[in-house]
Each structure stands twice: as C-alpha cells, then as structure tokens.
Amino acid sequence: MNTSVDLCGITLDNPVIPASGTFGYGCEFAELYDINILGTFSFKGTTREPRFGNPTPRIAECTAGMINAVGLQNPGVEKVITEELPKLKKVFHKPVMANVSGFSVEDYAHTCALLDKQEQVGWLEVNVSCPNVHGGGMSFGTSPEAAAEVTRAVKAVTKKPVIIKLSPNVTDIVSIAKACEEAGADGISLINTLLGMRIDLKTKRPVIANTMGGFSGPAIFPIALRMVYQTAKAVGIPVVGMGGVNNAEDVIEMMLAGASAVQVGAANLVDPFACKRIVEALPEAMEKYGISDLRSVIGAAVR
C-alpha cells in the first residue's frame, strides 16, 4: 500500500495537508499528536507586517460549515522566521508549506524572498484569494492579469516551488489558473473559502462584524471538487485540492478529480485529530477501492 505522492518535486509520505489558517504554525497540534505523520502542513497566512485582523465576531456557524472573517491575523514574516519556525523545528522535521498573503505585488515578493531563505520551507503557497481583507488578498486572484503579475514577482525571488492559491469567487477559474501557469507557477491550490454571510434574527444584523466572510466546511466539497476537476483538466502543473474534505474517501475523490495532494481545513477546528484520523484511515480506504498506489488515482476521473 503506497500512500506517497509527489508535490512539485518533493515527496510527501501521504497527500494529507492541513490547510492554512486552521493549523496555526503547528504548535497547538503538535501538543496533541505527532504532526510528522502528515504529508506536510500549510502554515497560517503570513504578511509583511504584523496584523491583528478584523473586529470580532469573526465566526458564524452554518449548516454543514462555518464562516470566518479572521482577516489574516499573524505576527508578520519577521517574527514567523525568528520565533515560529524555530519552535516548529523542534516538533516538525519535514518541509513546511509557507502560506503568504499581501496587499501589493511588492509585499508578496518581499515576504516570499525572506521565506525563500528558510531551510524549513518546502513550498511557497501564495494566497491571492483571501476574502477577508480590503485592497489585497482576493483582489489579486480574481483577474488573470493580476494573478499572473503576483506569480511572476514571486517566482523572480525564489527557487522554491510556488503554488498559487486561488479563490472560488470568480466566473472563470480556468483562465486564472492558466494565467498563473503561464507566469511560471509550479502548482495551483484551490479552493479558498466562498464568500458568504449570516444575519442574526434577534439583532437583525450580520453575525460577522465584517458583514461577510469565507464559507468553509463539508457543505462546499462538491463545489471544490468541481473546480479542482476543471483546473486539473486545463493545466499541466500539480493541483492541490481543498474545500470541505473530512475523511479519507474525500481525499481519494479529490485526487480522482486531479489533485496531487489534498488540504484539510475546517475539519481541524471541530476535530483537532481530523488529519491524524484521515492519514490513518487512508490505507483501509485504498484497500476498499482496490488502490495499491495512491499516485495512480490522480486525475483518473479527468482522463
């Protein structure tokens, strides 16, 4: 039973990757289980300067999911390098995926250039899809030109593989993914959260202080799967699938749609052992569906 996969030239023991924003910088989960069982994980979205994020409430519950409007709270890239990565080094011995966000093309390049020098960083996952900040984040991921410009700027400052994380809040995901590929991206990850909102019937006001936020959880899985399928069909670079993944079967389904690796997000927040459970369940699920090598299912439903 072989669960290993390749992601942009780096071998993962398995395709399971906790998604950015649901796993901090790893330490909270390292207290619960040995996080080295993971393929890797994508750390909390990091920006050039420290950010407090949005006012609270930042969280709203939905049927089969949740909305968050955290707004990229993080200590800033310098503290991530001087404090978080050294702490992580003690508990995690694999290359980590560095998730980066920004408010200008220069921001992205600056942050990526600093993270490029970090030995622990395996991949740069460039988030052009955060729905919770103004004047940055998602605005770069909703036009092919802007996404390509960020991709080129980041590629110019790093030798590490660059994965561009795309937003589902667009009319044509394929044209954006293709623009990133043409600009030199080594991979595409999707989907970030879907823009959503809730209103409190008692107060008659939006639940989220920022009015809208990103919807995630099992409810979005079919949408995510569809967009992974469309993207994988159109590009020649690896695709990392995510959105509502909650068990080993979901991982295999994402891979059938063309994902080379699979991220798990909201599930970590309600079940802190979700990724451990999924990693441990993979061999049994593979056996059930007659899969001896997980690589063989990547894109099997696309071809």
């Binding site: 924003g21 649901t22 796993f23 901090g24 909270e28 989960f29 207290e31 619960l32 909390k44 407090f52 994020g53 609270t56 409430p57 930042r58 969280i59 709203a60 519950e61 939905c62 049927t63 089969a64 999911g65 949740m66 968050n68 955290v70 709270q73 639940v207 959880g217 099992p218 909201a266 970590n268 927040l269 309600v270 802190p272 052992f273």
Partner: protein
C-alpha cells in the same frame, strides 16, 4: 487539552431555561475558569461551556438555553454520550497573594465561580460572593456557595430577592482582590467601580476553542490574545478599557 467521551449522569432544569448537566468519564485535569467544548450532533461547531465543578470524576456544567446548540443539549438525557474537548483556556489565577477575594457573577456567569470558590475556600481564604440575577426565580446556587463557607450576597434587578440592583451595588468593602464572570456591561461597571486588582472571564464567538483559528482574538495592553487560549480570563490591568 484532552478529548473525552463523557456520559450524561444528570441534565436537570435548575432555573428557567437554565440546566445543570453532570458528566462522568475521564475529563483529565480541569482548573477553575477553564471551559470545555462540546460536540453536538447535527451542528458544525462545538459549544464552549465553562466548568462549574469537577470532583470524583464528575464534571458539572451549567448552561442557559440561548440557541440551537444549548437547546439540543437540553433535550439530551441520562446515559447519552458527548464528545468533549476538556481543559481549555487559562483559567483563574489561584496563585495571586490575596486573603479576602470577592467573586462577582452575573446570570450564567455564576457557574465558573463555584469551582473557583471551592478552590479558594479550600485554600483557607475568606471568600465573599456576589451573585446577580434579574429576578428571584432565576436565582441558582446561592445555597451551594453558602455550603462552601463563603459569604454570599444576592442581587436582583427587580428587587424581588436580596439586594435590589446590580452586583456592583453590593460589593464587599474589605476585599483585596476580585474574580468575575458575567455579561460585558457588568464587567465594565465592575472595572470602573473596583479599586482593588482582579481578573475577569470573557466570552467570544469561537471557531475551534483551542487556539488554532484566531477567531476569538482581542486586543490587550500586552498585545493580541486569543480568548480561548490566553483567555478566557484576563487581568484587569491588561484590559484596554
């Protein structure tokens, strides 16, 4: 933090819309002021509820039915099992050098103070408790606090029992520290009225409850803190009020 499968031993109505649930099983070590996060069938997010007591392998929580989650919880019965993340948050600081602490609780802010009062009275401190409710029928745990040997004052907003007014109208004068839990307007008034140092427990909508999602962050004098991880208890001097 510990994930535990706990068994409901009791789920009793003790005041209008207020239930006391007793849960047996290995919840690990729980400190006063900490909370647990309960998974409820059919709802995506867990529900954070403060620890009211923990003794002889029995965890007690007291909750008010305010929405779908607590309503579902209120319909559960003896013998049913709950998936609970235990031992969350920092809890109250029991190492503070004080001898006459006052414990100030409003409504469903009262429960965590019971476990705290138990620890403080056991440590030989002269504990005063002020419990605030809207009206007489909503009062719970007055006798339980008295049984611990604490001096107890009860206030009701409508004057139907005890002292008419709010907890801040009945603060003991000789206290040298305060511990509080209650609605934010109560905490703010307390913050203004008290000359002694103290600490208070806060509420916020949470995603995970264990520090992963940054959903419940707040600003303090010493930087941003997660209510679920560096909180829910914050010291008076770190508040930006």
């Amino acid at each position: 933090m510990k994930q535990a499968l706990l068994t409901i031993e009791e789920n009793a109505l003790i005041a209008p819309s207020v239930f006391r649930m007793r849960l047996s099983g290995d919840a690990g070590e729980l400190r006063p002021g900490q909370f647990v996060n309960i998974r409820i069938d059919g709802l995506f997010l867990r529900r954070p509820i403060s620890v009211c007591d923990h003794e002889d392998g029995v965890l007690t929580i007291i909750y008010k039915v305010v929405g779908k989650g607590t309503e579902a919880l209120s319909r559960m019965g003896r013998g049913e099992k709950l998936d609970v993340l235990c031992g969350l948050g920092n809890g109250y600081d029991l190492t503070v050098p004080c001898s006459r602490p006052m414990l100030i609780g409003g409504g469903v802010g009262v429960p965590p103070l019971y476990y705290l009062a138990k620890a403080l009275t056991a440590a030989g401190k002269d504990v005063s408790v002020v419990l605030g409710f809207n009206r007489a029928e909503e009062i719970f745990y007055e006798d339980e606090f008295k049984a611990l040997g604490a001096k107890v004052a009860v206030t009701t907003a409508d004057g139907s029992y005890g002292i008419r007014g709010f907890v801040t109208d009945a603060l003991p004068e000789n206290a040298d520290y305060f511990y509080a839990c209650g609605p934010e307007p109560m905490l703010k008034t307390l913050y203004k009225r008290t000359a002694v140092p103290g600490e208070m427990s806060f509420e916020e909508r949470m995603g995970c409850g264990f520090g992963a999602c940054m959903g419940c962050s707040c600003k303090t004098i010493t930087g941003s803190k997660r209510i679920c991880k560096e909180g829910p208890v914050l010291k008076k001097e770190e508040l930006l009020w």
